[in-house]
């Protein structure tokens, strides 16, 4: 239902979105994961026809975003970043305005507003001016307006931002259930959220798509490597320069230094040939360099590691 092809967006000389392609089908909740400034919001703004792409195409529900913006907007429910709202209107008036804008028939409007108030937990705030609401409630109003016309396609930019832990759980459950028969794309930089709500993840960094897959697939990606956590006592610079000379150590990161000059490292290793063991290689390396290897632990890949790996490495997923 959402198709993006070779999307590029430049602002002057800066490239915000660099050749992104992906699709979202009905029944999927796709998570856009990336650090701040990666291009998630920009892509969403293009999908909602708020801005136009510099190159490439984007279509929603079969309609091209540039050529048929009106048809695109009719089908989507959009929650922009920062949840902008009209502060002087009260909740009901605002939801009524949005419902009217989407041509929700008058007969259905009242009950729809009632449902939204119920689903988003706005019962007590219904007659208050939006400007008086706390961030959490504003977020809920934002969600309500995105859902009020029962759109088939939802585009949510950081939908749980500003919510407290209880609310976050409720909203994630809501999004998951909506995703069962709709196409949902949400953006976030909260990793657990993506694991819990999304059936597929798109990792964006610096405008490019650097990783794509289900949470499991992405974790397996990192298992093509081995992770080790080490504690070594020795000269930091010397240790790091030795790491750099070993081609089977694809990357290393210093996590910190304890007292007594003990350094904690996280290593990414290329798995060795059959018959060899990475643990042994590390041990031998320490011995031949006279380091004091105090602790060696095999690490598992969490989604966070995948995220860090993909967004700091220059190469993308092959």
């Amino acid at each position: 239902m959402i198709e993006v092809n070779g999307l590029v967006k430049r602002f002057g000389n800066a490239v915000a979105v660099d050749n992104i392609s992906f699709t979202v089908k009905a029944g999927e909740v796709v998570g856009f994961l990336g650090p701040n400034g990666a291009g998630k919001s920009t892509t969403m703004k293009i999908l909602t026809c708020f801005i136009s792409a510099s190159e490439g195409s984007a279509s929603v529900g079969g309609y091209d975003c540039f050529k048929h913006p009106l048809e695109v907007r009719r089908q989507i429910g959009y929650l922009p970043e920062q949840t902008p709202l009209y502060n002087e209107l009260n909740v009901i008036d605002y939801l009524s305005f949005i419902a009217d804008s989407h041509s929700v028939p008058a007969k259905v409007k009242r009950s729809r507003i009632g449902e939204m108030v119920e689903t988003c937990g706005l019962k007590r705030m219904v007659h208050k001016d939006i400007g008086e609401l706390s961030k959490g409630y504003r977020q809920r109003v934002g969600l309500a307006q995105a859902l009020i016309h029962d759109p088939k396609i939802l585009i949510l930019d950081e939908p749980t931002s500003g919510l407290d832990p209880n609310q976050i759980v409720e909203i994630r459950e809501l999004i998951k259930s909506l995703g069962e028969d709709r196409a949902v794309i949400l953006s976030t930089h909260i990793l657990p959220e993506v694991e819990v709500t999304c059936s597929r993840i798109l990792i964006i960094s610096d405008g490019s798509l650097v990783g794509e897959g289900t949470p499991d697939q992405l974790r397996k990606h990192l298992q093509g490597q081995e992770l080790f956590d080490l504690r070594i006592k020795g000269d930091k610079n010397e240790i790091e320069s030795v790491f750099l000379t070993q081609d089977w150590i694809s990357s290393h990161e210093i996590l910190g230094t304890e007292l007594n000059g003990i350094h904690r490292f996280k290593l990414n290793l290329i798995p060795p040939m059959v018959g060899e063991d990475s643990g042994e290689r590390l041990y031998d390396l320490s011995v031949s360099n006279s380091w004091k290897l105090l602790e060696m632990k095999r690490g598992g890949a969490t989604l966070e590691d995948v995220f860090k790996d993909l967004t700091t490495r220059e190469a993308g997923l092959n």
Binding site: C49, F50, S52, P80, Y86, N87, F97, D129
Partner: protein, 239 residues
């Protein structure tokens, strides 16, 4: 189309009255305009509102930009532009809806000066033609100021700048037709300048004569600036 314009109109109009600004504005306008008019009224001792309508272009000069300055700048500042422009509205529906709401607000404000003509009717026997003509002219003039101000507001992110530029632009358009400016304009351009000026048309209508040429003039100004605003809105897609 019309229904959608109506939806925008309703939202805009209720936004005016949901904050104190509208009430302060109306009171300020009525007090200022009545004060200036009544100052000389008894001295002149004539049962007409000519001076009131002479004043209006100058009072509008400051009051109308105060209305228009928030039309777009506020939406941009609060981010609601993104909500408005991702709802299924055509650009024209949004622009016209906002304009009509501002216009309705202005008409309401001016109409609330009805105690003045009522008082005059009690005190003497004024000629109603010029008074009605004066009000019609005031609405048209105000409408023109509104269109100019709305366009300028669509160009600015900052309400103050929108206000100042609108005042300047309206001022320029206002005085182009005035005698003291016409003096310094070469003869060949004089008729053009006189036609372009907002106030010269206003004088005609103020006499109670509703000449179609003047009405066309005002509608043209309104149309040109509404169209310009729509293009400006559209230009975001070509950035």
């Amino acid at each position: 189309m019309l229904k959608k314009i109506g939806i925008i109109f309703k939202k805009e109009f209720s936004l005016y009255f949901n904050s104190a600004i509208a009430y302060i504005f109306i009171v300020a306008f009525l007090v200022v305009s009545a004060w200036f008019f009544m100052n000389g009224f008894f001295l002149i001792a004539q049962a007409d509102m000519r001076n009131y309508f002479q004043l209006l272009p100058w009072i509008f000069l400051f009051f109308v930009p105060a209305v228009t300055m928030r039309l777009w700048a506020e939406e941009r500042r609060s981010g609601t532009m993104e909500v408005l422009l991702t709802l299924p509205f055509r650009d024209v529906e949004i622009v016209v809806g906002k304009y009509l709401a501002a216009f309705a607000f202005l008409i309401l404000t001016v109409i609330l000066s009805f105690p003045i003509p009522l008082t005059i009717m009690k005190m003497g026997s004024p000629d109603m033609g010029p008074i009605i003509g004066g009000y019609v002219g005031a609405f048209l003039l105000g409408g023109a100021y509104l269109a100019i101000g709305m366009f300028i507001s669509s160009l600015c992110d900052n309400q103050m700048i929108a206000f100042i530029l609108s005042v300047v632009a309206s001022f320029v358009l206002l005085i182009i037709g005035e005698p003291f400016v016409l003096q310094s304009i070469p003869d060949t351009l004089k008729p053009a300048a006189q036609y372009l000026g907002l106030s010269s048309h206003f004088q005609n209508i103020g006499k109670g004569v509703i000449d179609t040429r003047d009405v066309i003039y005002y509608f043209s100004v309104i149309f040109v600036f509404i169209y310009a605003t729509m293009r400006k809105l559209e230009s975001r897609l070509w950035a």
